[in-house]
Each structure stands twice: as C-alpha cells, then as structure tokens.
Symmetry: C2
Subunit: 472 residues, 2 copies
C-alpha cells in the first residue's frame, strides 16, 4: 500500500490532495510561484490527525513540509521538485480553544489567521499585538514557526515574545503538550523558544497559548519629514523618554518607498507640499482612560524641531486621518507588487549603525548595477530595514534578476561587516539558507546541526530549510 | 600527570584551590551548607581560560560544576560529595566589556555582580531592570543560567527576556560567540534561550549582551491592605488599565510574612493601626519628565476603594517613605533567616487560580503538620508565590524537617492539579530535580534528555542537575 493510500484511509479522501490543480496553491508563496511538486498535500483536521499523518510519513521515510497561510518570503513552506515530499497544511486547525481575559492568555490552533487571533483578543477587550502586512492571510502557526516581526516589535517584541506555551507534533508523530499558560516556569529547558523560529524543521506547531495585553484604543499618530536617517535614530530616544511605555510604532520610509506608494495606491496622498529624503511614522497608544498621549507626542515633536531632527510634521486629528498616514507605510508592500520585479531583503544591525549601513549599502549596490532603485523602509527602532530592489528607471527586470546574486552579496557583506543579520524577520527557508551558512560562525552551525540531529534523526521535518539538507 | 596539576600549570597556582578551607565557600549556597566535596575549585580569569579549563576536564572525563555568586536556592551550583567534580567559578570574569547607550545594550562578563550591572546601566542613564533580594552578591552569569525572576518581571519579564546574546563555553571547551546586540535576527535556532535557564548543564555562560531600558527615576508607590487574595487578583487589571505601561511592581505579602518582618527587622513599622490578612506593594515608575504617575495611582486606588478591593492604603510621600514601604516586602527573606528553620518553595499557577491555590495549599499543609506556619509572599502579577514554611508556634525545627517531604508533596500536588509550576523562579538544581521528573510529561523529559545528549554527549556539564544523572 502506498503512503498516499495510507494517508487517505487514515484522514479521509477529502483530506488528501493529489491533483495538480489542487496542490498548486501549496507550491507558491508571497514571493511568487515556486517550482515545487509534492507527492500530495494532506489537510488534517485536528492535532490527533496531524500526529497520525506525521507518524505515517515517518514510518514511510517520507519528508514532511508544514504549510500555514502561504505568505512566507523565504520559501520555507514550499516542497521541493522531487515529487516525494508531503505538504502538511494546518489550515483546518482553526479553533480558538480558550480565552482567559483575567489571566491575559489565549489558546489557539495553528491554522487560525492572525487577524482572527487579533479579533479574539479584541472580543474580550485585550490586545494581541502581533501585526504585519499579511495579517489577513498568514496563520499564527506560521507566525510562530518563523518568529514573525512586524510593526509592534518595538513595544511588544517578536512573535517569540508573545507565546507562553506550545503544542507540537514531533517528527515521529508524538505530541508534546506544552500549552502552559504560566508567566514563570523554571522546570527545564526552554523547548518553546527552540520550536519558535525553527521553521518547521524540528516539529510542527499545532497550537499555542499566547500572551494578551491591555487594549490600547487611544492613539496619537504623526507622520514626520526627516532630514536624514541619523535624525530618525537620534529622535527615537527623545520620543521614548517623552512617551514612557506608550510608544507603539516608529517606522522609517524612504522617499523612493513613498513615491512607489503614491504611484500605485490610489488613496495615498503626500502629506507635505515638498518632497523630503526620509519620513517616519510615530505612534503612541494607550488605554481608553489615557489622555496623556497627545501632550506627550507634542512635547516629543517640539523637542525634535528644536534639535533640528524633524523638518515637518502632520499629526492625525481623527481615526480616518490616522488611517491615511498608516496607508503611506502599509501600502508599500502592495505598491511594490505593481511596480515590476523586486528583490526583497530584510536586514538588521544595531540601531546606531543604521545610517552608515544605508549609505554603504547604496554605494555598493550602485557599483553592482548602476541606477538600481533601493526602496528602503522598516522598523528603525529595531535596527531593521527592508531593502527592496527595483530595476533602474528604464531598465529591465531581467537585468535586475541577472544581477540578483551580486546585489544580495553586496547587501549581506555590508550587514556582516557590522555584525548584523541577513534575515531579521523573514527567516532562512531555502532562499537565504546558503548565504547564511556561508557567513555563520561554524560553532553555531554545528550546534544547530546537533539539535536538528537530536530531535529529527531521520531528517524528515522540512528538510533543506534553515540548514543545507546535506549537512552531516 | 593529574588533572589538578594540568589545571594548575595552565591557569597558574593561584587559580586552583584544593585546601578544604578554601573550597568550603563553594560548597554552600543561600539554602545553607551542602555536603559537597570537589576535586578542586578553578578560578579562570578570562573566557580563554574557562575554555582551557573545560577542555582539560573534558579530556580527563571529569565533571564540571559552574559556580556564580553562590546565592542559588536549589543546589544547582554545588558539587556532589564524590570528590571527583571540578567547581569552576566565574567570579574573576568581572569586566564590563562595553555599553552602547544609544543602542540600549550592555555587554558584561558572567562574574559581574547584578548590582554592578544595574550600576553600569545607571551610569549612562539607563535601567537594567532585573532586581532580586540577592542582587548584592548574585552574578549575571548565574542569573541567566537559572533564568532569574524577581520584582520587575511584571513589566520587563524574566532574565531570559533581558538578554540579546551570549558567549558560551561548550562542554568540549569550544567557545560559541553569540554576543549579537541585535533586536531581530531570524537566522537559525534560538540557542541563546536554550542556554538561559539550563543551569549550566549544556555549557557555561561567560558573557552576555543585555537589553537596557529608559531610566525610571520617578515613582509612585503604595502599600495596600487587602481583604483577600481575590481582591489582589481583581485589583491588578484596574491598576494596569489606569497606569498604562508604568506599572512596575505588584507584590503580595501575607500577614504571617509581615509579622516575621516586624519581629526581626528593627527599622520595619506596620503602616496601619490594625492588622489585615493581606497586603500589596504597588509601584508605578516613569521617566523624569513623567508627572502622570501620582494621578494614575490615585485614580487606581479610588477605583479599588469603590469596588471594595482595597481596605486601606498608604502612599509614599518621599523617597525615604518609599524605602520604608519596600522594606516590608524586601525584608522578608532576611527576617526568615532569623526565624528558625524554613522550607522554601516557589510555585506558580495562572494568575486567576492563585486564590484557590492558596486556600487549598493551606488546608493540605495543615493536614500534614497541624499548625505549620505558611509564610506566603511573592509576585501576584506573575501568578508566582513563595511559600516558606516555618514550624508551628512552640513546635520544633526537627519536626518541620522530618515532615519536609510530605509538606513538599502537598504543595506540589496542589500546584500540579492546576497546571502550575513547582519551580517558578528558583530552578531545579538537585533539590527539585526528582519531584519535577516525577510530575513532568514524559515526552518533554525525553526532549530534554535528547538535547542534553546532543550538546553534552559525555555528560560532564553539571551532571545530576535539572535531569537525574542516571537518565539514559
């Protein structure tokens, strides 16, 4: 009997897809179509069924590729083209298992869409702060497997900082129930954080107990024109000290990025009469009873003007004005999809090194492909910027793609020389796996291989992601 | 040549202690004297020397017991009585390697005393928030190895939440340099969090890059009398929603704990004319420019009185009054040292289950040893309480010690039935190792053993701590 037959009799015929038209959606992610071709796609409906499916694959010696919302940018959820891998979709694990408003915790299954997690928290007057461009389609399981970032990291941390416990199906099909809603627990190694960010290479996250926070329905939001990236970095501690714990977002946008939005997003309007090199979106957020936000923002901006860190500013006077300001930041990703070929990069350095990193990177890229357009934006408070590269004005996407490897090396080298990360948020998947292995401390790579070998000795969990598949 | 000779020639004679008088200090911790007897104590002066010492021990097949400030409560830093283990003290690794105020990071060696870490942060107008009773003698390496908690967890998290990167000497002597000062880095498994809280069983932390926060020199502090633990739990969200991000401490103290302080700490004074069952210390903290704290505290207390959650309250009007209020909480640990035999426990449950946990625990303990005094205090916002048991009035310490095992089982069973942790802050060491192994999910224990085996195949790093030494 074949594995596909075994899976079908265990999970039911509707849960196993083999037709090319049906599986195509599982071979593509937000970067675009991959070249993958799976043996089949399985869609289990419960943790027990995930366990069964993984056990059957383990017995057959067949690799398993976990798949969430399909919004990854590094190929981590895509099968290879061997036709021998089973894609395991978590999309049917959609239950909100429980919410404890008084205890500020929420337990959800892996396939719940991030926006629905946010809504479940909001329904009990709490905040689940993880927020990113794909929140309408990405799933919490994928967010945790890849340790997603987004716009709220500055205040609340990465996905890993928002999880208290996990339920994980291990490579041999056993289930680890680590769904503990505890704030403090020093009774062993931190397995939760080991699975978070491991991109499905050590096991499959099937459910998570998440941390909730007080709702922050009040906002004070400003869109700033800045003379330089240096000014953005220098303004951050000013805003922070004026706003106490209420600083919720501090996002950087380059003129090139804003221009892309203004070209492709119909509702977007430039907030100022003249162009500036850099912009920042600054937002404070607080409780319904918190009426200190406007004053705090005003005091911070006054200090920023006084120190010549701010060239111009618009403060949102209404929720709809706030939305228009956020559109200038959040529209970038969509606008770029309409703007021809784009090479996406996602790097970080210590915050204070951002200005020199950006200058050095621009110079190196221009030497590789003169005129290449560098669309830069991101989370300046975290030292994290997205460099999305577009072809020179009048140039072709083919030239851009032909130079992709050299352009990537230029970006990575500039980052590596400053002790930075070549993948701050997006993970390694397949697209950054080798560039990372080439630059990483061999001792660290060796530790990672030891852990992979210990937890997945047969090498069947998402092979070829994070670590090269042929690793010893 | 013997290992002691090898260590002496590699590190110098002053760095290797063998005389019983010299090694005695390394065989005791804050619980009291252990029965340990090491082969020797080595005191390397640098990461390179730690590496050399560990390599020599590895070649000799000799176990290594890392030792920090000696303030542990679970025996994790003590050698066994075989005379065959090498205690490796980190006390000479005392350098502050660097501070980046603009980037909000600090890099220190493992032997730096926690109070000195706090001072290094304060010297650049920043806060390193980890704060606990032993901060004058515990070291940051030990704080990280045990994932220390303390009074600032509610706002800033545990020790693991305060670290960005580590330098670790591995069991074979290799050095992993993971001292990355990055806020975001998704380029592999989270090795940092694996070493944090592993109690020296996977490697020896020799340095860490820590997160700094804005200084919070302004405080609003209140000492509250509460009608019940339920009231303490219900008041927490009220204070939280009134204080935004500024809630810095929310500590529970029982009348029994306060009485112990009033008996043994000369400067301590009861804040109220009549006794109450429960007390809470509540503190908001903010920037020098933040003048909203007093109003926020007042609004929260007004709401607390209105809802009958607060019976009486004293607000500190000056820094010295603030100090006297804190003395009522921080004096407990010292007061208990003067109060005869004490059995220390440290448990957590979801916050909302605290009231029933405390009632159930008291009943179970009284059934084991009628009249046993339960000195309860702790971090109610984290669902974490310390149960320190003292002999019944007029009873003997010997009776208490004789019942220690049954009393511990009563406490652990009450916690386990509520999905709690039998060691919220203090770790497992040797004293809670077996109780934990008996109650832990076998799948989780097996994962822990796999990781131990992968990183320390010879089983030489702090054997017998965390996991039973005879584990497969």
């Amino acid at each position: 009997v074949s594995l596909v037959d075994d899976l079908t009799s265990a999970l039911g015929p509707g849960a196993v897809l083999t037709e090319p038209d049906d599986v195509a959606a599982y071979c593509t992610d937000w970067r675009g179509a991959g070249s993958g071709r799976p043996l089949c796609v399985v869609r289990p409906g419960s943790t027990a069924e995930v366990s069964t499916a993984v056990r059957l694959c383990h017995e057959a010696g067949t690799p398993v590729v976990p798949h969430g919302g399909g919004t990854g940018l590094s190929g981590g959820a895509l099968p290879d083209d061997s036709g021998s891998q089973v894609v395991l979709s978590l999309a049917r694990l959609r239950a909100v298992r429980g919410v404890d408003a008084a205890g500020d915790t929420l337990t959800v299954e892996a396939g719940v869409v991030l926006a629905d997690v946010q809504a479940a928290a909001a329904s009990v007057d709490r905040l689940f702060p993880l927020s990113l461009a794909s929140e309408g389609s990405c799933t919490i399981g994928g967010n945790l497997a890849t340790n997603a970032g987004g716009t709220a990291v500055l205040r609340y941390g990465m996905a890993r900082d928002l999880v208290l416990g996990l339920e994980v199906v291990l490579p041999d099909g056993r289930v680890w129930d680590g769904l503990r809603p505890l704030r403090k627990d020093n009774t062993g190694y931190d397995l939760t954080q080991l699975f978070v960010g491991s991109e499905g290479t050590l096991g499959i996250i099937t459910a998570a107990t998440l941390r909730l926070f007080p709702a922050t329905p009040r906002h004070a939001t400003a869109w700033l024109a800045l003379p330089s990236v240096e000014a953005a970095v220098s303004l951050l501690p000013v805003v922070r000290s004026r706003s106490g714990g209420s600083l919720a977002a501090y996002e950087l946008v380059s003129r090139e990025a804003l221009d892309t939005v203004l070209r492709h997003v119909p509702a977007a309007r430039d907030a100022f009469g003249e162009p500036h090199e850099w912009y920042a979106l600054v937002e404070l957020a607080g409780a319904a009873t918190d009426d200190s936000l406007d004053d705090a923002l005003e005091a911070a901006l006054a200090e920023g003007f006084e120190q010549s860190l701010v060239a111009d500013a618009v403060v949102a006077g209404s929720p709809s004005q706030r939305e228009s300001l956020w559109l200038l930041r959040e529209g970038i990703s969509e606008a770029q999809n309409h703007d021809g070929a784009s090479l996406k990069h996602d790097v970080s350095v210590p915050v204070t090194l951002l200005p020199e990193l950006l200058a050095d990177t621009a110079a190196r890229l221009d030497a590789v492909l003169p005129g290449v357009r560098l669309v830069t934006y991101g989370h300046v408070g975290d030292g994290n910027v997205h460099h999305n590269l577009a072809a020179p004005v009048g140039g072709s996407g083919d030239d851009l793609r032909a130079a992709a490897g050299d352009l990537a090396d230029a970006i990575y080298d500039a980052v590596a020389e400053r002790g930075g990360s070549i993948s701050a948020e997006h993970g390694l998947g397949t697209t950054k796996r080798d560039a990372n292995a080439a630059r990483k401390d061999p001792v660290e790579l060796d530790l990672m291989r030891s852990i992979k070998q210990a937890l997945d000795p047969a090498g069947l969990m998402n092979p070829g992601k994070v670590l090269p598949a042929d690793s010893p």
